[in-house]
Structure formats: C-alpha cells, structure tokens
C-alpha cells in the first residue's frame, strides 16, 4: 500500500521513527532492509554528549527514555548517510537544536549529505524548559521558517502532546512553509517510583512512549487533520498493522514506529508491513489515499450522538472460568448470576454504558436495543 508523503513516494506508509536503532549508517541500512517506507535518523544535535546510564525504562506496556540523541558528530553523518543509502531507500534526518540558526545549520548539512527530508525535533520532553518550545506557536514558526528558508528538501515538524494547542502549533508550521507534521512525540513522564528506595525508575523526567500513548496520538492526529490542511505522520504506540490503519483512517498519510521496534526488534516491523500488505491486497487497496480519513466521518460532536435505548445483552458463549469482571464493574448493579450460575443483565437497571462489553474477555456481552 503506497503513499505519497511530503512529495516523497513511499512504498508503504510505515516509517521507522528516530531513535538509537537508527544511530548510524549501518543501522539505518538495516532498518531500510526491514521493508520500511522510510527511515528517520536518530536525532542529530550539534554537541553530542555522553549518554546517561540507565536511560530506558519499561513497565510492561510503556517505555520512558531520557535523551536518546545521536553520538555521531554532524560531520560524521556525511559518511553515515552514504552508508545508509548504499542499497537505496529514503532517509529523513531528525535534527534538534535550541535556536533557529543552530537548527538550520544542522538541516543544511544533512541536506548536503543526502537526506531526503528533515524532521525537526522541537519538543524534547526532558531537559529543555519547564514549558516545551513546541507549545509556543511563534517559536515553532521561527524555528521552522529558518530551516525552510535554508533547505530545498521537505521539512516536517514533530509535535508534542505536551502542548494543549496542537492545532495552533500545526498552523504555525504550515504558515512557516513546513511540508508536514508528525504527531506525537514522547510525552513528559515519570514512569514510576520504587517504593522501597524512594527512587523514580529513571533519575529525571523523560519521554513516555509505547502502546499506552496510542489513544493520545490518535486524538492528536484527528485534531490536526480536522483543523489544518497539512500532511500528518501519525506516531504513538503503533504495535500492529491494525494500529497503522487506525492512524490512517483518522487522516494520517504515514506513520512512525519506534518503541515497538525497541522492544521486539526490526523483524516486528517486517511483520507489521507484511500484515498490512496482506490486509490491503485482500481488499484491493493499493494507495493510502483510498482509505485515508475514512473514520473521520464517524467522529462526531457530542451533540450529534443519537441517544438510543441500548442495553447490555448476553450471548450464548461460555464465561471464562472464575471471571466476574462484568458483575464487579457494573456500577448500576444490573449484572448478576442466576441460580444456574449464568450471567444475566437486568434491562431495567442497565443504562447501556457499555463498559462490560469491553471488559469481557469472552466477548459474551454486547449492546443492543
């Protein structure tokens, strides 16, 4: 399923996000070989520092990272890009800096070295400032503008969920001449605290990524698509081909996968792409544009929702032994077991909230008239 993103022809919409898995030419080459439509370099900064140890924590569903930046100097990327592209493929350079001119300098260099596009990281969730730059539309405009004026290749800006005004920021990117936005970056977080030692899992605030942030990413993409006419690359918690489709159906032209690769390796990217291609082939879909934004029509305002007399119904399927999730969670006390131990819903007490239909692992419950 091909897509056109930023004027670049992608053989499929799956882009491998910026991260240490793309830290040099050889690793980018491997990422491209996994079948991805494009690959984004680990974020390049003008003064590489030593990495903190440890710098990645994981709690079984989401990951926190602190400062995952390239330790290759900008000069070194001339050689790395050459290595990365020796078998072909699209490489997007992720660059980050604190001022417009510093950012533009890095972008100009990466363009010269052969990058196909630039992604601007303006929203690092760690360090930086208490208020992220990405929440200030004027700052984002100035940064983007300075880069756009100095390079000829497309420029996308990675936006942050830490900003509550995503639409305004995305508009600033468009006004500045940016070719697209990617959303969302990792979110400022503290993954957890060790209650025996009183220590946070990592010693400073970091970026939260992985499956748990997908709902935030989906909402952000839909919001941007519905308010600004600019191509969007969806990011956040993509772990399967279904997740890719969710983002596309909400209007993304392409997506980025990072944490899923971090946890499962590059072969998982190959699997996601393979599954996606199979799904598309079965339906005769060849281009992302055929399905892009199709779910947006079903995204309603609260006023548009029709109130129907729905309540929970029970299918003739066996319960999972010992499970009482639906009974325990029903705050209207509408669900109980009869003398034979079967699940029963009292239609007079059920208010059709729908929670039990999601909690039931046996899919025994559904809403109906």
């Amino acid at each position: 399923m091909k897509t056109n993103f930023l004027g670049l022809p992608l053989k499929n919409p799956v882009i491998i996000a910026a991260g240490p898995w793309n830290r040099d030419g050889e690793n980018i080459r491997k990422s491209l070989a996994s079948g991805a439509g494009a690959v984004i370099t680990e974020t390049i900064i003008s003064e590489p520092n030593l990495d903190a140890r440890p710098r990645i924590a994981y709690n079984g569903s989401g990951a926190q990272n602190i400062r995952l930046y390239s330790d290759v100097q900008i000069e070194g990327w001339e050689r790395e890009i050459e290595i990365a592209k020796q078998d072909g493929g699209l490489v997007i350079a992720s660059v980050s800096a604190h001022t417009p001119s510093e950012l533009a300098y890095l972008a100009v260099k990466m363009e010269k070295y052969g990058a196909d596009a630039i992604e601007l990281g303006l929203s690092t969730p760690m360090g930086g400032a208490l208020e992220v730059i990405a929440s200030d539309p004027e700052e984002v405009y100035n940064m983007t503008r300075c880069v756009v004026e100095n390079v000829k290749i497309p420029v996308i800006v990675k936006l942050s969920q830490n900003a509550s005004n995503l639409s305004t920021v995305a508009k600033a990117v468009k006004r500045a001449g940016g070719s697209g936005v990617s959303a969302i970056n990792a979110i400022r977080c503290i993954l957890g605290v060790d209650i025996e030692t009183n220590k946070p899992l990592l010693p400073t605030y970091g970026g939260y990524s992985g499956v748990p942030i997908k709902p935030l990413g989906l909402a952000s993409v839909a919001t941007i698509v519905q308010s600004v006419d600019i191509p969007v690359c969806g990011i956040g918690g993509i772990d399967s081909y279904e997740n890719v489709l969710e983002y596309i159906l909400l209007g993304a032209s392409a997506v980025q996968v990072g944490t899923s690769l971090l946890i499962n390796g590059r072969s998982h990217i190959t699997k996601i792409i393979h599954d996606l291609e199979r799904w598309a082939e079965e339906r005769g879909i060849t281009d992302v544009d055929d399905i892009k934004g199709k779910a947006l029509d079903n995204l309603k305002s609260f006023e548009e929702i029709k109130i129907e007399p729905l309540y929970s119904h029970v299918k003739d399927i066996d319960c999972i032994p010992g499970c009482n999730k639906c009974i325990n969670s029903c705050m209207y006390e509408a669900i109980y077991r009869n003398e034979d131990g079967e699940i029963v819903v009292d239609p007079n007490l059920c208010t059709g909230c729908g929670l039990c239909t999601f909690l039931c692992d046996a899919r025994k419950l559904y809403l109906g008239w």
């Binding site: 003008s46 003064e47 100097q73 000069e75 001022t99 001119s101 510093e102 300098y105 100009v108 400032a129």
Partner: protein
Amino acid sequence: MNIKEIAKTSGVSVATVSRVLNHPDTVAPKTREKVLAIINELGYKPNWFARGLNFNKTDTIGLLIPSIQNPAYMEVAEGVEYVANNKGYTTLLCITEENVEKERKYIQTLIDRRIDGIILVSSLLEDSDIQEIKKQETAVVLIGENRGNSKLPIVRIDCFGAAHKAVKHLLNCGHKKIAIVYGSTPMMENNLKIKGYKLALKEAGISINEDYLVKDENTIEGGYIAARKLLGLGDERPDAIFATSDLLAFGVMDAIRDSNLSVADDVAVMGFDNIRVSNLMVPKLSTVDKPLYRMGISGARLLLDVIESEEGIAMSEIILQSKLKIRKSCGHKERIKEIF
C-alpha cells in the same frame, strides 16, 4: 631524504610520487602501493612548509582568545580544537591578553604564515581592522561580538536577553536591591549584559542606582574587589549581585564570606558562563549557561565551511541558546527550577 630520491628508488617520476601523497585515487593501485612501501621503508616525510606553498593551504587555523586563565575560553578552545582536529587541521592558540595591539599583531603574523583561517573570540578589533583582514582574503569567524558590526560569520548568544532573564529571576526570588559587577572585558558582550540588567530593573519599576554598577578586571580578584565596594555601602548594601562572568562571581562569593555574610541568605549571587567548576562552589553557583564548548565547535564548523566550501556558506550567523542554570546561590525556593 627528499621526493626526488623516492622517485628514483621507486622508478617513477616525481609527479607520480606527488600524486601518491596528495591524490592517491589518481594513481594505479599497484604503483601506489609500491611507492608507499618505499616511502615507509625510507621514512620519508613531506616538507610541511613546501607543501603549504604548493597547495596554498597549510591545514592550520589560528584561534585567538583573550585569556587562558579564564576556563570559559578553555571550553571554547576545546570545542574549536575538537572539530578542527577531526577535519585534519592543526590549531594554533594565541592569547591576546585583552590587548587590541597584541591581537592585531597576532593576526598579521598568522596571515603571513599562510594559515587557512582565524577564529577570534570576544575580539577587540574595530570594523576598520576587520576590513583590513578581509582584503588579505583570509577566512575569519567570530565567536562572540567584536566592536561594531563587521558582517563576518559569527557564533554568539543573546547576551542582552540572557542578562535580562537572569536579573528577572533575581527579582522573582524577592530581591530588590540588585547590583551588577561587570568586567572591563569582553567589552561588547558586557555592554549588552548591562543593558539587559537595566531593562529588567526598569520593567520592575526599580530606578537605577549608579553605585550598584561596579566595573573591575574580569578575574576572581576583580570580582572580590568590586563586591567589597558594594558590601561596604552600609544600609544600601545590595541583597543580590549579578556578575557578568563566573570568575567575577567566585570573587563576589569570597568577598561575601569575608564580610561574615552568607551567600544566598544575605546576598544572592548570579554568575554568567556556567564554567564547569561553578557547580562545585558552595553554595552551588546559579548562573547563565553559555554553551561555551558548543560555541567552539560551531565556530570551527563555520570557519571550515568558509575555508572548504566552494559555493559559499549557508549560515553566516549562528545564535546559540543560553539558559538560566538555577542552583543555590540565587536564593530561590522552587526545586523544580533546578531540574529544567
């Protein structure tokens, strides 16, 4: 041992040996290996000066810094050297001692020695000097402003904005009587810092007390003397002192202690530069983080772009971000400000 003997022993022409040394891609691999083997065996080293004359390039740059006693300049120099060395250049370090005549002489000497380019850190040169250098077609890049508007490629920070922010922070900490201790050099940068200081006070409705602007040498001793003057003002003694460099701030802290007062509790101190040892002071020095090393690497990158780029450079001005590094000496109360 000279190139003719290598040629004779290898059975090739002098031109071929020269190509092996300078453009090895253009020589057949077999010949190249044979010549290189003989060069190694006989221990031949090309004459560096002669080479510079031939190629009009010496792979050497000059770096002029005002002082080697100030660690701020050492960090800048470290950045310059790192990039230059990685690209095969040697850096010649010259100390100007904040003396414009010495700076002029050094520049001419370097140009006469055919160096490929010069980096001037906090230069005292006037525009007329810069015009003279430009005539000699030597690549020059500035780190920090010189006197005037030279239109040379430059790496700098916004000293005015940074000082304004620093003084605003002192005001936010509750200090009202804020003095500034500034160095006689670097002149342009300090003028901008004074402007930022004055604006922050004006915005807060505080009139400027001329006794609170004290100038001295940009050294620890200078800071000590300046602070003793301020602390001797009796009832008018300031409750916060903003120093335009960390070195000055160290002297200020020393003077506060010698006056049996407490840094932060009695008199807050804010520095400028964030040199590495500022974190080791007791209490830890709050300061303006000037990205010194990054200014060095960015300056060297700009200079090498000018030297090596045929199509001209893309960016002629790089403004780097400075930020407040809030620690303990400013007397603030919110821990989160130390994290971000």
